[in-house]
Protein backbone atom coordinates (compact mmCIF):
# COMPACT_ATOMS: atom_id res chain seq x y z
CA UNK A 1 0.00 0.00 0.00
CA UNK A 2 2.65 2.49 1.04
CA UNK A 3 4.51 1.66 -2.18
CA UNK A 4 1.81 3.54 -4.05
CA UNK A 5 1.34 6.31 -1.55
CA UNK A 6 4.45 8.29 -2.42
CA UNK A 7 3.92 8.29 -6.22
CA UNK A 8 0.30 9.21 -5.60
CA UNK A 9 1.28 12.18 -3.43
CA UNK A 10 3.83 13.30 -6.02
CA UNK A 11 1.23 13.00 -8.73
CA UNK A 12 -1.33 15.04 -6.79
CA UNK A 13 1.19 17.80 -6.04
CA UNK A 14 2.27 17.92 -9.68
CA UNK A 15 -1.33 17.94 -10.90
CA UNK A 16 -2.07 20.75 -8.44
CA UNK A 17 0.77 22.87 -9.83
CA UNK A 18 -0.32 22.23 -13.40
CA UNK A 19 -3.93 23.01 -12.58
CA UNK A 20 -3.02 26.36 -11.06
CA UNK A 21 -0.79 26.99 -14.07
CA UNK A 22 -3.73 26.45 -16.40
CA UNK A 23 -5.56 29.35 -14.82
CA UNK A 24 -2.65 31.79 -15.07
CA UNK A 25 -2.46 34.21 -17.93
CA UNK A 26 1.08 34.25 -19.33
CA UNK A 27 0.39 37.60 -20.96
CA UNK A 28 -0.01 39.26 -17.60
CA UNK A 29 3.50 40.15 -16.66
CA UNK A 30 3.66 41.94 -13.31
CA UNK A 31 4.75 45.53 -13.84
CA UNK A 32 7.70 46.84 -11.86
CA UNK A 33 6.14 50.31 -12.09
CA UNK A 34 3.48 49.66 -9.47
CA UNK A 35 3.94 52.08 -6.55
CA UNK A 36 6.46 54.06 -8.57
CA UNK A 37 5.89 57.59 -9.86
CA UNK A 38 4.31 57.65 -13.30
CA UNK A 39 7.09 58.38 -15.81
CA UNK A 40 7.02 62.01 -16.88
CA UNK A 41 6.27 63.04 -20.43
CA UNK A 42 5.00 66.02 -22.36
CA UNK A 43 3.19 64.98 -25.49
CA UNK A 44 1.03 66.88 -27.98
CA UNK A 45 -2.70 66.43 -27.60
CA UNK A 46 -4.48 64.51 -30.31
CA UNK A 47 -7.15 67.14 -30.86
CA UNK A 48 -4.97 70.16 -30.17
CA UNK A 49 -1.44 69.49 -31.35
CA UNK A 50 -0.14 72.85 -30.21
CA UNK A 51 -0.88 71.98 -26.62
CA UNK A 52 1.02 69.46 -24.58
CA UNK A 53 -0.24 67.30 -21.79
CA UNK A 54 1.92 66.01 -18.98
CA UNK A 55 1.09 63.72 -16.03
CA UNK A 56 2.30 66.53 -13.76
CA UNK A 57 -0.86 68.45 -14.76
CA UNK A 58 -2.89 65.84 -12.90
CA UNK A 59 -1.35 66.27 -9.44
CA UNK A 60 -4.06 66.15 -6.81
CA UNK A 61 -6.39 63.99 -8.85
CA UNK A 62 -6.88 60.27 -9.24
CA UNK A 63 -6.97 59.44 -12.93
CA UNK A 64 -6.78 56.64 -15.43
CA UNK A 65 -4.29 56.50 -18.25
CA UNK A 66 -5.59 54.24 -20.99
CA UNK A 67 -3.23 53.17 -23.76
CA UNK A 68 -5.15 52.68 -26.99
CA UNK A 69 -4.75 52.76 -30.74
CA UNK A 70 -7.01 52.74 -33.75
CA UNK A 71 -5.28 49.59 -35.04
CA UNK A 72 -5.83 47.72 -31.79
CA UNK A 73 -8.52 45.09 -32.03
CA UNK A 74 -9.07 44.49 -28.32
CA UNK A 75 -9.56 48.23 -27.83
CA UNK A 76 -12.85 47.82 -29.65
CA UNK A 77 -13.88 45.37 -26.98
CA UNK A 78 -13.19 47.72 -24.10
CA UNK A 79 -14.44 50.87 -25.79
CA UNK A 80 -18.10 50.62 -24.72
CA UNK A 81 -16.96 49.94 -21.15
CA UNK A 82 -14.85 53.09 -21.15
CA UNK A 83 -17.68 55.10 -22.73
CA UNK A 84 -20.00 54.07 -19.94
CA UNK A 85 -17.39 54.78 -17.30
CA UNK A 86 -16.80 58.25 -18.73
CA UNK A 87 -20.52 59.00 -18.57
CA UNK A 88 -20.62 58.11 -14.91
CA UNK A 89 -18.09 60.83 -14.15
CA UNK A 90 -16.31 58.89 -11.47
CA UNK A 91 -12.76 59.24 -12.62
CA UNK A 92 -11.21 61.12 -15.54
CA UNK A 93 -9.81 58.94 -18.29
CA UNK A 94 -6.87 60.18 -20.33
CA UNK A 95 -5.81 58.39 -23.48
CA UNK A 96 -2.38 57.60 -24.82
CA UNK A 97 -2.77 57.03 -28.54
CA UNK A 98 0.03 54.53 -29.03
CA UNK A 99 1.92 54.28 -32.33
CA UNK A 100 -0.96 55.63 -34.31
CA UNK A 101 -1.50 58.16 -37.06
CA UNK A 102 -3.34 61.18 -35.66
CA UNK A 103 -5.90 61.04 -38.48
CA UNK A 104 -6.66 57.39 -37.76
CA UNK A 105 -6.93 58.05 -34.05
CA UNK A 106 -9.28 60.97 -34.54
CA UNK A 107 -11.42 59.02 -36.96
CA UNK A 108 -11.64 56.11 -34.55
CA UNK A 109 -12.84 58.37 -31.74
CA UNK A 110 -15.27 60.18 -34.03
CA UNK A 111 -16.81 56.89 -35.02
CA UNK A 112 -17.03 55.10 -31.69
CA UNK A 113 -17.26 58.04 -29.30
CA UNK A 114 -14.57 59.67 -27.20
CA UNK A 115 -14.43 58.58 -23.55
CA UNK A 116 -11.25 60.56 -22.89
CA UNK A 117 -10.87 63.98 -21.34
CA UNK A 118 -8.09 64.21 -23.88
CA UNK A 119 -5.68 61.92 -25.65
CA UNK A 120 -2.01 62.44 -26.32
CA UNK A 121 -0.01 61.07 -29.21
CA UNK A 122 2.87 58.71 -28.71
CA UNK A 123 3.66 58.23 -32.36
CA UNK A 124 6.92 56.36 -31.97
CA UNK A 125 5.98 54.41 -28.89
CA UNK A 126 8.74 55.91 -26.76
CA UNK A 127 6.52 56.84 -23.85
CA UNK A 128 4.99 53.40 -24.19
CA UNK A 129 8.43 51.94 -23.46
CA UNK A 130 8.78 54.14 -20.37
CA UNK A 131 5.46 52.81 -19.14
CA UNK A 132 6.36 49.22 -19.98
CA UNK A 133 3.57 48.88 -22.52
CA UNK A 134 3.78 45.60 -24.40
CA UNK A 135 0.23 44.92 -25.44
CA UNK A 136 -2.42 47.51 -26.12
CA UNK A 137 -4.83 48.18 -24.44
CA UNK A 138 -3.35 48.80 -21.03
CA UNK A 139 -4.77 50.94 -18.27
CA UNK A 140 -2.96 52.59 -15.38
CA UNK A 141 -4.56 53.86 -12.19
CA UNK A 142 -2.59 56.88 -10.99
CA UNK A 143 -3.13 58.48 -7.61
CA UNK A 144 -3.14 62.08 -6.41
CA UNK A 145 0.61 62.09 -5.89
CA UNK A 146 1.21 60.84 -9.42
CA UNK A 147 2.10 57.30 -8.35
CA UNK A 148 1.00 54.31 -10.43
CA UNK A 149 -1.15 52.12 -8.21
CA UNK A 150 -2.40 49.51 -10.60
CA UNK A 151 -1.93 48.35 -14.14
CA UNK A 152 -4.59 46.52 -16.04
CA UNK A 153 -3.36 44.55 -19.03
CA UNK A 154 -5.77 43.86 -21.85
CA UNK A 155 -9.27 45.22 -22.36
CA UNK A 156 -11.01 46.67 -19.33
CA UNK A 157 -14.19 44.74 -18.64
CA UNK A 158 -17.17 45.50 -16.39
CA UNK A 159 -15.93 42.76 -14.10
CA UNK A 160 -12.44 44.22 -13.75
CA UNK A 161 -13.97 47.64 -13.11
CA UNK A 162 -16.23 46.37 -10.35
CA UNK A 163 -13.72 44.02 -8.79
CA UNK A 164 -10.55 46.02 -8.90
CA UNK A 165 -10.39 49.39 -10.60
CA UNK A 166 -13.37 51.24 -9.13
CA UNK A 167 -12.82 50.16 -5.49
CA UNK A 168 -9.18 51.19 -5.81
CA UNK A 169 -10.14 54.55 -7.34
CA UNK A 170 -12.65 55.19 -4.54
CA UNK A 171 -10.04 54.33 -1.92
CA UNK A 172 -7.41 56.56 -3.52
CA UNK A 173 -9.86 59.46 -3.87
CA UNK A 174 -10.51 59.38 -0.13
CA UNK A 175 -6.85 59.82 0.70
Amino acid sequence: MSRFLLPLVIFIVLAGFLFVGLGLNPREVPSPLIDKPAPAFALPQLHNEQKNFSPADMKGQVWLLNVWASWCVSCREEHPVLMELAQRNIVPIYGLDYKDKPEDGKMWLARGGDPYVLSVMDREGRIGIDYGVYGVPETYVIDKQGVIRYKHIGPVTQLSLIEKILPLVAELQKK
Partner: protein, 153 residues
Protein backbone atom coordinates in the same frame (compact mmCIF):
# COMPACT_ATOMS: atom_id res chain seq x y z
CA UNK B 1 -13.80 39.26 -66.84
CA UNK B 2 -12.58 35.86 -65.72
CA UNK B 3 -9.39 36.20 -67.71
CA UNK B 4 -8.78 39.60 -66.28
CA UNK B 5 -9.16 38.18 -62.78
CA UNK B 6 -6.75 35.35 -63.54
CA UNK B 7 -4.29 37.84 -64.94
CA UNK B 8 -4.61 39.96 -61.80
CA UNK B 9 -4.02 36.96 -59.57
CA UNK B 10 -0.96 36.05 -61.61
CA UNK B 11 0.37 39.53 -61.03
CA UNK B 12 -0.17 39.34 -57.29
CA UNK B 13 3.34 38.04 -56.50
CA UNK B 14 4.73 41.24 -57.99
CA UNK B 15 3.34 43.07 -54.98
CA UNK B 16 4.24 40.38 -52.49
CA UNK B 17 7.83 41.46 -52.34
CA UNK B 18 9.13 41.16 -48.80
CA UNK B 19 11.63 43.80 -47.88
CA UNK B 20 14.64 43.06 -45.75
CA UNK B 21 14.24 44.07 -42.15
CA UNK B 22 15.52 47.62 -42.14
CA UNK B 23 17.06 47.30 -38.80
CA UNK B 24 20.75 47.65 -39.37
CA UNK B 25 22.48 50.54 -37.80
CA UNK B 26 25.17 52.23 -39.83
CA UNK B 27 27.73 51.06 -37.34
CA UNK B 28 28.19 47.27 -37.68
CA UNK B 29 30.17 47.00 -34.42
CA UNK B 30 27.35 48.59 -32.50
CA UNK B 31 24.83 46.44 -34.32
CA UNK B 32 26.71 43.32 -33.33
CA UNK B 33 26.81 44.42 -29.71
CA UNK B 34 23.11 45.26 -29.84
CA UNK B 35 22.22 41.82 -31.24
CA UNK B 36 24.41 40.15 -28.63
CA UNK B 37 22.55 41.92 -25.86
CA UNK B 38 19.15 41.48 -27.48
CA UNK B 39 19.67 37.71 -27.50
CA UNK B 40 19.67 37.80 -23.71
CA UNK B 41 16.40 39.71 -23.65
CA UNK B 42 12.90 38.44 -24.10
CA UNK B 43 10.34 39.94 -26.43
CA UNK B 44 7.21 40.62 -24.40
CA UNK B 45 4.84 40.22 -27.30
CA UNK B 46 5.93 36.80 -28.53
CA UNK B 47 7.16 35.61 -25.22
CA UNK B 48 9.31 32.72 -26.33
CA UNK B 49 11.36 34.72 -28.76
CA UNK B 50 14.37 36.82 -27.97
CA UNK B 51 14.42 40.49 -28.69
CA UNK B 52 17.02 39.79 -31.36
CA UNK B 53 14.91 37.37 -33.36
CA UNK B 54 11.43 38.78 -32.88
CA UNK B 55 9.68 40.66 -35.66
CA UNK B 56 7.07 42.17 -33.37
CA UNK B 57 6.65 45.91 -33.59
CA UNK B 58 7.59 46.33 -29.96
CA UNK B 59 10.76 44.31 -30.44
CA UNK B 60 11.81 46.61 -33.25
CA UNK B 61 11.15 49.62 -31.05
CA UNK B 62 13.11 48.09 -28.20
CA UNK B 63 16.02 47.26 -30.47
CA UNK B 64 16.01 50.89 -31.57
CA UNK B 65 15.94 51.93 -27.93
CA UNK B 66 18.85 49.61 -27.06
CA UNK B 67 20.82 50.92 -30.02
CA UNK B 68 20.25 54.51 -28.94
CA UNK B 69 21.19 53.80 -25.36
CA UNK B 70 24.40 52.19 -26.59
CA UNK B 71 25.16 55.26 -28.66
CA UNK B 72 24.70 57.29 -25.50
CA UNK B 73 27.49 55.22 -24.00
CA UNK B 74 25.53 53.08 -21.56
CA UNK B 75 27.00 49.71 -20.60
CA UNK B 76 25.16 46.46 -21.26
CA UNK B 77 24.33 46.14 -17.58
CA UNK B 78 22.92 49.67 -17.46
CA UNK B 79 20.74 48.95 -20.47
CA UNK B 80 19.47 45.73 -18.91
CA UNK B 81 18.64 47.63 -15.71
CA UNK B 82 16.86 50.25 -17.80
CA UNK B 83 14.64 47.63 -19.40
CA UNK B 84 14.05 45.73 -16.16
CA UNK B 85 12.86 48.98 -14.56
CA UNK B 86 10.18 49.19 -17.24
CA UNK B 87 9.26 45.61 -18.02
CA UNK B 88 10.37 43.69 -14.96
CA UNK B 89 12.66 40.68 -14.63
CA UNK B 90 10.57 38.98 -17.26
CA UNK B 91 12.60 40.64 -20.02
CA UNK B 92 15.69 38.76 -18.89
CA UNK B 93 16.05 35.26 -20.25
CA UNK B 94 18.23 34.42 -17.28
CA UNK B 95 16.27 35.35 -14.18
CA UNK B 96 18.34 36.92 -11.38
CA UNK B 97 18.90 34.99 -8.14
CA UNK B 98 16.44 36.51 -5.67
CA UNK B 99 14.51 35.24 -2.69
CA UNK B 100 11.56 34.20 -4.86
CA UNK B 101 13.67 32.65 -7.60
CA UNK B 102 15.60 30.43 -5.16
CA UNK B 103 13.29 27.51 -5.89
CA UNK B 104 13.83 27.98 -9.60
CA UNK B 105 17.60 28.09 -9.33
CA UNK B 106 18.21 25.54 -6.62
CA UNK B 107 15.04 23.42 -6.73
CA UNK B 108 16.44 20.98 -9.30
CA UNK B 109 19.58 20.42 -7.22
CA UNK B 110 17.46 19.91 -4.11
CA UNK B 111 15.37 17.37 -6.00
CA UNK B 112 18.51 15.60 -7.21
CA UNK B 113 19.84 15.50 -3.66
CA UNK B 114 16.59 14.07 -2.28
CA UNK B 115 16.42 11.48 -5.06
CA UNK B 116 20.06 10.52 -4.45
CA UNK B 117 19.42 10.18 -0.74
CA UNK B 118 16.40 7.99 -1.45
CA UNK B 119 18.45 5.82 -3.76
CA UNK B 120 21.23 5.32 -1.21
CA UNK B 121 18.72 4.44 1.49
CA UNK B 122 16.93 2.01 -0.79
CA UNK B 123 20.20 0.28 -1.70
CA UNK B 124 21.21 -0.04 1.95
CA UNK B 125 17.84 -1.49 2.84
CA UNK B 126 18.11 -4.03 0.06
CA UNK B 127 21.56 -5.13 1.15
CA UNK B 128 20.12 -5.86 4.57
CA UNK B 129 17.12 -7.78 3.26
CA UNK B 130 18.96 -9.94 0.72
CA UNK B 131 20.58 -12.69 2.85
CA UNK B 132 24.15 -13.80 2.22
CA UNK B 133 23.89 -17.13 0.45
CA UNK B 134 25.45 -19.98 2.43
CA UNK B 135 27.07 -22.25 -0.07
CA UNK B 136 28.86 -25.51 0.45
CA UNK B 137 32.35 -25.59 -1.12
CA UNK B 138 31.08 -27.94 -3.86
CA UNK B 139 28.22 -25.62 -4.77
CA UNK B 140 30.66 -22.75 -4.81
CA UNK B 141 32.90 -24.56 -7.28
CA UNK B 142 29.95 -25.41 -9.49
CA UNK B 143 28.81 -21.85 -9.49
CA UNK B 144 32.30 -20.66 -10.38
CA UNK B 145 32.50 -23.19 -13.21
CA UNK B 146 29.15 -22.10 -14.59
CA UNK B 147 30.16 -18.48 -14.43
CA UNK B 148 33.43 -19.22 -16.23
CA UNK B 149 31.58 -21.08 -18.94
CA UNK B 150 29.41 -18.08 -19.41
CA UNK B 151 32.40 -15.85 -19.77
CA UNK B 152 34.07 -18.04 -22.36
CA UNK B 153 31.05 -18.34 -24.61
Amino acid sequence: MKKLLILMFCLLPVFAHAGEAQDMAKDPVLEKRMIGLAEKLRCLVCQNESLASSHADLAEDLRREVRELMQKGMSDQEIMDYLVARYGDFVLYQPPVKSYTMLLWFGPFALLFVAGLGLVMQLRKRRETVPEANLTPEAHQRAAALLNEEEKS
